[in-house]
Symmetry: C2
Subunit: 659 residues, 2 copies
Amino acid sequence: MNLLKPSSSMEVRVRDGFWNRFTELVRKTVIPYQWEALNDRIPGAEPSYAIRNFRIAAGLEEGKYGGMVFQDSDVAKWLEAVGYSLADRRDPELERIADEVIDLIALAQHENGYLNTYFTIKDPGKQWTNLYEAHELYCAGHMMEAAVAYYQATGKRKLLDVMRKFADHIESVFGREADRLRGYDGHQEIELALIKLYQATAEERYLRLAQFFIDERGQEPSFLIEECERREGYSIWTGRKQPIPTMKQLAYNQAHLPVRDQDAAVGHSVRAVYMYAAMADLAGLTGDQELLDSCRRLWNNMTQKQMYITGGIGSTHHGEAFTIDYDLPNDTVYAETCASIGLIFFAQRMLKLEQKSEYADVLERALYNNVLGSMSQDGMSYFYVNPLEVWPDASAHNPGRHHVKAVRQKWFGCSCCPPNVARLLSSLNDYIYTASEADNGIYVHLFIGSEARLRIAGGQVALKQRSQMPWHGKSTFELSEVTGAAFSLMLRMPSWCGGQAGMKVNGVQVEYDVLDGYAKVDRVWKKGDLVEWEPAMTAHFIVAHPNIRANAGKAAIERGPLVYCLEEIDNGGPIASLSLSKGSTLAFQYDPDLLGGAGVIEVEGYSDERASWREDQPYRPLEAAASESTAGPVKLKAVPYYLWGNRTPGEMAVWNRIR
Amino acid sequence: MNLLKPSSSMEVRVRDGFWNRFTELVRKTVIPYQWEALNDRIPGAEPSYAIRNFRIAAGLEEGKYGGMVFQDSDVAKWLEAVGYSLADRRDPELERIADEVIDLIALAQHENGYLNTYFTIKDPGKQWTNLYEAHELYCAGHMMEAAVAYYQATGKRKLLDVMRKFADHIESVFGREADRLRGYDGHQEIELALIKLYQATAEERYLRLAQFFIDERGQEPSFLIEECERREGYSIWTGRKQPIPTMKQLAYNQAHLPVRDQDAAVGHSVRAVYMYAAMADLAGLTGDQELLDSCRRLWNNMTQKQMYITGGIGSTHHGEAFTIDYDLPNDTVYAETCASIGLIFFAQRMLKLEQKSEYADVLERALYNNVLGSMSQDGMSYFYVNPLEVWPDASAHNPGRHHVKAVRQKWFGCSCCPPNVARLLSSLNDYIYTASEADNGIYVHLFIGSEARLRIAGGQVALKQRSQMPWHGKSTFELSEVTGAAFSLMLRMPSWCGGQAGMKVNGVQVEYDVLDGYAKVDRVWKKGDLVEWEPAMTAHFIVAHPNIRANAGKAAIERGPLVYCLEEIDNGGPIASLSLSKGSTLAFQYDPDLLGGAGVIEVEGYSDERASWREDQPYRPLEAAASESTAGPVKLKAVPYYLWGNRTPGEMAVWNRIR
């Protein structure tokens, strides 16, 4: 097993025709827009109060606390995104704003290191009395991630020192000693953040604290239950006493069982994947085989039985949660953006532990579909919920579907998703490569144009990746710096190529071995060597396991990493009355006019006969009109899922009947 | 237009091979069982508190109020069912119990006529301050219906007098005069009850009061909004102040618009249909053409665009409500039992106004499917929600489907449905015939074995219906008493016979005219004349309007009045992996061993290939296994929907893929 590399072993800059559009959007539009939002300056959007809370907590302003109990985390996620963005491209004005925010944060910190504007302003003296609901360690975790990102981008230590001081304070509060809280947060996040803090500072105490939180979770007697009993059930959400949760109910927080005993993804999906990511980190850093086994089991359950084809997870909006194996309704779905981002975090950690392409396949699926589709093409509005089937009228009028929006929304009251998208898209460079000491080489997980300098056993390597993804399968790798000794390039063979991929080195076709889904080419590389890698990219109808009831008799369309969908604007409605023809070719074409340019797929299908139906007739015998057995053939046009809902609002479906 | 006949114009007793089983069940099991439930004597069931509340209100017992704010109505509905049952068959012991309950109710009545145990025990002094939520007039209405039923069955006036006194009190409280409340109840029911009271007493004041409630509803300024403002939004449900509702939100109570301006069925579905029933009654009794037009519009919208094939209405459990046209999800459905019962009430009233078979078609559909299926075969447990598709695991673990039960439940905390079923099934005799003065004859709406004495223009007529329904289409009518003059028999030509029905009179085939869906035979009848009527009953695949997205590509099976379904116990699961063969015959067979005897339908279909699917593979290209394009042929067995869920719990679906 490979130990996690300190991130300094790798310097990667994304320079990609497809992704630059989005990373630029984040830099030029999303980060400035979110800054306005954090300062309550977006007309028509709900105020965030997030910066104002810090000003009040810092003593610079009078006022009441505003927003959700975890509002601080929005500032943290924004700062983290700023860190990644500055790492890619300096921007003195942005850095000046960030430095001011950091000054403000430092001013809001208590003498003893404590930092949380909710408890400072609204509930002083109640610190650490409601881990179950109050997201105190969660907010701390996000600010730690921001501190690490900002430090690594700018070398400035101020926020890092603030958060070390807070981490030290947390360490003095929590532990197994009699005078400490033997507990953990209701919403996992601090665990993975403490590991980042450990990696940035080499302070092993932070690693141990993360381990403590993971190990205590789900133990009996339950800390969360006893804590609720101490509060007599008082809830900050309702302002009243609530029933004390049972162990079973703590599945919502993945605290129903010790993490090593958990077999299936349950509960609030974001909490789950943030925890799994930390578990994988810990398994790698401590060599804990039992924890690794748990990670594998949870990964398998989640990605093989509870994941949408778009990489969405969490089937119900009630508790934003997992339900049971194969329960993947397309229309009442949740598939929260943040959950897919957390799934990407988990996949990234698993990839560091064991280089198996299945992790990268899922990572790519979630990234190009659920996550990318959550943001509008102008970066100004977002989906929380990423449905696979939408009927706008039903979303508007059926309360069971109110959570499924047909149109992306501006900044939300609970605005976790937009800054999460920003921090992920501005840190894509972290997901492309792994430099492996054990395998003496470089793994390429994602095909995203980039310039990378990586340290392997033999020394420093630099390469330049160019990619035609996602519209064509080909990527090239030019070695711009080599070690002189032999080392391997291990190129992912994506699941979507069906095992068909051509490789050339300096123009000459070469054979290669495939190990755990990676094509390996091992040689003494020379500067200027060029590897061409071309996984076959053709469009396919995809069908679902027969246990996924929602997709019975239906097919989706995939091409490369992209899932496609039918939209009403292209095909008319109801979309449900359309079906795909099993024998159809799937004709791909790049349409430069579609939302800045995108590939579309034309496919033959059928449209159910409508003309013979009377308005007053909801049901009739099948034989009443012979014509319906010969539904008319039509040409259907599928567009990438990530682009849905960017034109006239209408119906959309990923899964459509096929015959 | 025909005016409503006083019910004394008709004496009908049900004597039917199919229905007697259920009416006997109501008499021998349901009514006694519900009596135990009302007295909190069912082990394992939530206490009702309903009788205890009356004892406390009557001063016979100390204690707190228990149950829902409308708990009184359970006693009323039980008493109403007892009335119908006694009308059919005297039972001195049951009558003694009922008399005791009536004595108790009389004791709980206030000096001024007021009667409601919630406000007597729990909130004295707050009478008539929360019509929006408190169901005061609703409970009064149910007790009025009970009083009329009991009076008509036994001739005993005590409860009728109690309720007249209460009605008189209500009349003194409500009205357009300055010192009265110009309002109406949040939950319609009193309107139709006052009309029954008028019909039983000939006191036109009660008709006028019903008309007042109907006319005031939805007027602006809104009584309900102003009332909420007077309470400052205080809610008895939450015990706290709530936002004042808007006119738009009052659609839940059908109080968003004057009833004459309403075009579409909206809001809480039970409230809606109870109101429509009263509107139809009023239209008939007052000759109000505008109100009749509203009834027709609402009927058409509801039954043509918002009704399930089972006669269920209300697509969402949020507010137990209608959503929008064609939004009829099978799995997240509500289709409350009480709503279908209310739909039957409305259909019955429309049938009295205008004898068009479409009303009886819907009535029959709701009765034989949604309503009959709500009760277990032993009468001891009930569905509130009557789904068209159930996956028990998802119901258990996906909160968006918790309301959809796979197994009928015992007496509920909010137990509106079981006593509603009891009162409907014990009053089936009211739904079979209409004696029409205008048409000088007798309409037969339902084919239910029965003995009837009806008064028409020419005098008294008696007939005996025998029916083979629902397993065979044939019914016979023997005239046992005639007038000597010519009169018509008008036999419904049910929608399910596709216009094919044979008629014989005294063994000789006769021609007939069809008017508004009724086959008319007009002659001077002789005693002993026998009419045989045989609508063609064959099984059909039924398809749904293309706008009903949920049923695209699917078919249901109907035979006669019965909708069929596939259950896991007969066909294996997942049911979603099965499909029907378009070309299949539908082979009907009576199975004497199925739950006491029932017809089943065998049909050819396909089962999606499963063997080639790996456990770790949620999605794969269509071409990966050629075998799946040739899903294996299987024999499928469909059972009547009303019987589903009476054996081993499992998956069930009414709509299945067809190809």
